[in-house]
Symmetry: C2
Subunit: 496 residues, 2 copies
């Protein structure tokens, strides 16, 4: 197992040693949400995967500049450069200014990220905030001969580019196949070739989101913004670019072509792609009727769910699978994750409290614990394998519980090993995996405890044990809790 970080690079299709371009700095770019609707669970998984990448790189001591964009213009409903802009369409449906849509869904997105304990990126640039930079990039691509203008729109000339560079190197697609299978759409006739893609679109009169440009009023093509914003904040070539598997083609393939065509440089050293998320064996989709929003899962507000699941349960279930593999959500998987997570976090509370007692070293135990601690890092070094890291943490939890059950103290290992155990266990759960402690539902616990106390008081009253019942009432009153004996025979309480 590797003692240095290795990353599976989608571009080379190999696991490679991670060697940053400019250590200790690392540039990380992740494609963020298109803010025209609620973020779905698959998006959350993708952002979580790169949250782990970010956390682990920081854990290794790298100084990471993490950029995750907000797509607030240019993402068309139909990926083939046709149809309406997704945000403008939603605005028309909801009768709002497009930027109100952007604000609403950006806020919603941020809320889910907070609930899921996903760390904010260092910079979260918006596409509309970089129109000038996008126009400048289009100009460079035209100047270099890789794009042409028709009726106020500018298209990337894929065939021309292919004569010199390899279009398809990331996705593995072959340009001749793409030309045959591409759909024939009406206004495709502006394009020289149907695999060409728009980098600037002319805005017709009805289009609200528009900016002046050398080619008339228009708006940028969707693929362009990521090329512009990643290189603006991370340099013409940077370390890691991430996104969901569904973005590999055409989005990321186009990003590479744009950067190469504009600046002659491949933009990214390591490309990373996250796997998809299914629910009970099927792809989640609105048309299949099995789509569950993250917030619905947290509130239990879906007929598909047996009960609500906490954000950390959802997070933990996602991390139990390697980021690049497909994951299958189900009620059973969620409930198992809930229990497993509790086992992990209970052992964390235990290890923080157990006293250490010097004693004869049990070599086997000593070796096992040290090995499990090292495994946590080794699995993360192996392309961020959170699934195996969690397995190692369960191994440690078993060791902790054995100490607890055998006399409630840690003994038989060296103090150094005990310190290693404590710090590894806490660091990997809390910092690297970001599994924060969740509120244990204080209100319901309080209700339970109060009902015990009220029963004791009522029993005392029934037995005319006024001393006990008065003591309870007085001490509750000191604690600012008032007991009310209601007419229906029920006793309730209120605070304050």
């Amino acid at each position: 197992m590797p003692d240095q970080l290795h990353i599976y690079n989608s571009l080379t299709r190999k696991k490679e040693l991670f060697e940053p371009l400019n250590p200790p700095h690392v540039g990380l770019y992740v494609c963020g949400p298109t803010v025209y609707s609620d973020v779905h669970l698959g998006n959350v998984r993708s952002f979580l995967s790169f949250d782990i990448v970010y956390r682990y790189l920081c854990h290794l001591g790298y100084k990471v500049r993490y950029v995750r964009n907000i797509t607030d213009v240019g993402h068309l409903v139909d990926d083939a450069d046709e149809g309406e802009d997704k945000i403008a369409k939603k605005a028309r449906l909801e009768a709002l200014e497009p930027m109100e849509i952007v604000q609403k869904y950006t806020n919603g997105f941020h809320k889910i990220m907070r609930l899921m304990n996903i760390i904010d990126p260092s910079i979260e640039p918006q596409a509309t905030g970089h129109i000038i930079d996008q126009i400048e990039m289009v100009k460079r691509i035209i100047d270099n001969g890789f794009a042409y203008e028709v009726n106020g729109s500018v298209y990337f000339d894929v065939e021309k580019y292919s004569q010199q560079y390899h279009y398809g190197e990331l996705s593995g697609r072959v340009i001749e196949d793409m030309q045959e299978s591409g759909r024939d759409l009406d206004s495709q006739d502006e394009k020289r070739n149907k695999i060409d893609f728009a980098i600037w679109k002319n805005a017709d009169a009805s289009h609200i989101m528009r900016w002046p440009s050398p080619w008339g009023d228009g708006f940028p093509g969707w693929h362009l913004e990521c090329s512009v914003m990643s290189t603006k904040y991370l340099g013409k070539t940077f370390d890691i670019h991430g996104g969901g598997m569904d973005l590999k083609f055409p989005h990321h393939e186009c990003e590479i072509a744009q950067s190469v065509a504009a600046d002659g440089t491949a933009p990214v050293k390591y490309w990373m792609h996250g796997g998809m998320l299914n629910f009970e064996g099927k792809k989640m989709s609105k048309s299949l009727g099995n789509s569950i929003l993250p917030e619905e899962m947290i509130n239990g507000d879906s007929p598909l769910l047996d009960k609500p699941y906490s954000p950390m349960t959802i997070r933990f279930l996602m991390l139990q699978t390697h980021y690049a593999s497909e994951i299958d959500f189900s009620n059973k998987a969620l409930q198992d994750a809930e229990k497993a997570l509790r086992r992990l976090t209970n052992a964390l509370k235990t290890v923080e409290k157990l006293p250490f007692v010097e004693g004869k070293i049990d070599e086997e135990k000593e070796t096992t614990i040290k090995a499990l601690c090292h495994e946590c890092s080794e699995h993360m070094n192996d392309d961020f394998n959170t699934a195996k890291t969690i397995a190692a943490l369960f191994g440690l939890a078993t060791q902790i519980n054995t100490f607890k059950d055998a006399g409630g103290k840690v003994t038989g290992i060296s103090n150094d090993t005990f310190e290693l155990l404590k710090s590894t266990y806490a660091t990997f759960i809390l910092e690297v995996l970001g599994l924060k402690e969740e509120s244990t539902g204080d209100q319901s616990v309080l209700n339970d405890v109060m009902s015990i106390l009220i029963d004791i008081r009522n029993t005392a009253r029934a037995q005319k044990d006024w001393a006990t019942s008065d003591t309870i009432r007085n001490r509750l009153s000191e604690a600012n809790i008032i007991i009310n004996d209601n007419k229906d025979g029920q006793t309730t309480f209120e605070i304050g």
Copy 2:
């Protein structure tokens, strides 16, 4: 007292009937934060004042588009167009990309807004997201003859403007006085007149935040962004523009001049300005050493504070003063506010629970309650007088407590009046004033209750009353609470 909303208009220096330009729509623009440092308490007060304006307009049934910007470029350290850009300077100090600074302090700002229960605006545009629109406005101002270019910078020609329009109409300043009192700064010599102000600044080689423009690489003047973003999202003339008193001059005065010079239209019908905030009689400032950040006040993390104060206590204290008046924060004022707010919210819980009993109408009581309910609206209609609305709510709280003390039921008033009382009281506290219920510190309450229960159990054990002690232990165990009898004789508990 007015039964229709009246607003004190800083422009006309009169209280005026509020008549929106395009009812039921209302356009509201508020100057947001410059995100180069933590938001301070005075800013929070300003944003709270306009949160109340927004809430009350919505309460009246208006459809409000509320725009509050983020200044992420162009605000110079020295207001007289000299010195470094505030964000670029901070970036240099912290050795970060300027947009990392923007992200960090935008996130911090949003956090405080959430804590303070200040509603998000409909649109929160960033200055860097509107560079093209700003360049277009500069062009229009130049085309109309009210600005001139020198060395790649563009200045607004105040004297020229004054020949045709009234520069100073908002602030009441006289142009001749300004010319005499203006400071003489080195590179002021680019300006024809020292009261001229930059609308576009040439970026020297060291400047990171820069964009291409017809006048070379540069960045927009600070005053320009608000003119551009307010009119872009609300129209060339819109209803209400708000901001702190300190922004009246030069910022808002310049906004008017820019809009008039570019488009020939006064941009705003009602100008509103919020008052300043002092601490124990002195202006809060870092140099005086009496500056307290909102988060420090909430955590109690300042030598100037006796204890922490909850966000709603701070909110309530601010609302006890009319938005345009100066306010003085102190430990005493905060502690008084804490108590007063508790009185108000306790009465809210009471009124929701009290049963109504039909009975002979007490005309005086009936009249008093109805009058107090109407007063809540009337005071808000009088230029958003939250201070007097709160006084009326205290009047209602007294009525509620009288019902509670006199038999724990509501009687002597009509059912209609009771419903009016309940809905008015809840609506004004929760929706209009936005005073949400705060967690009552469940953990500490739980600790108190558990200590009572543990004492009862220990007493039972001492008396060999095993039935009671076992019942307590078993029922706690059902509630997922484990009791530990520690070696030091203490009994502790843990959940889960």
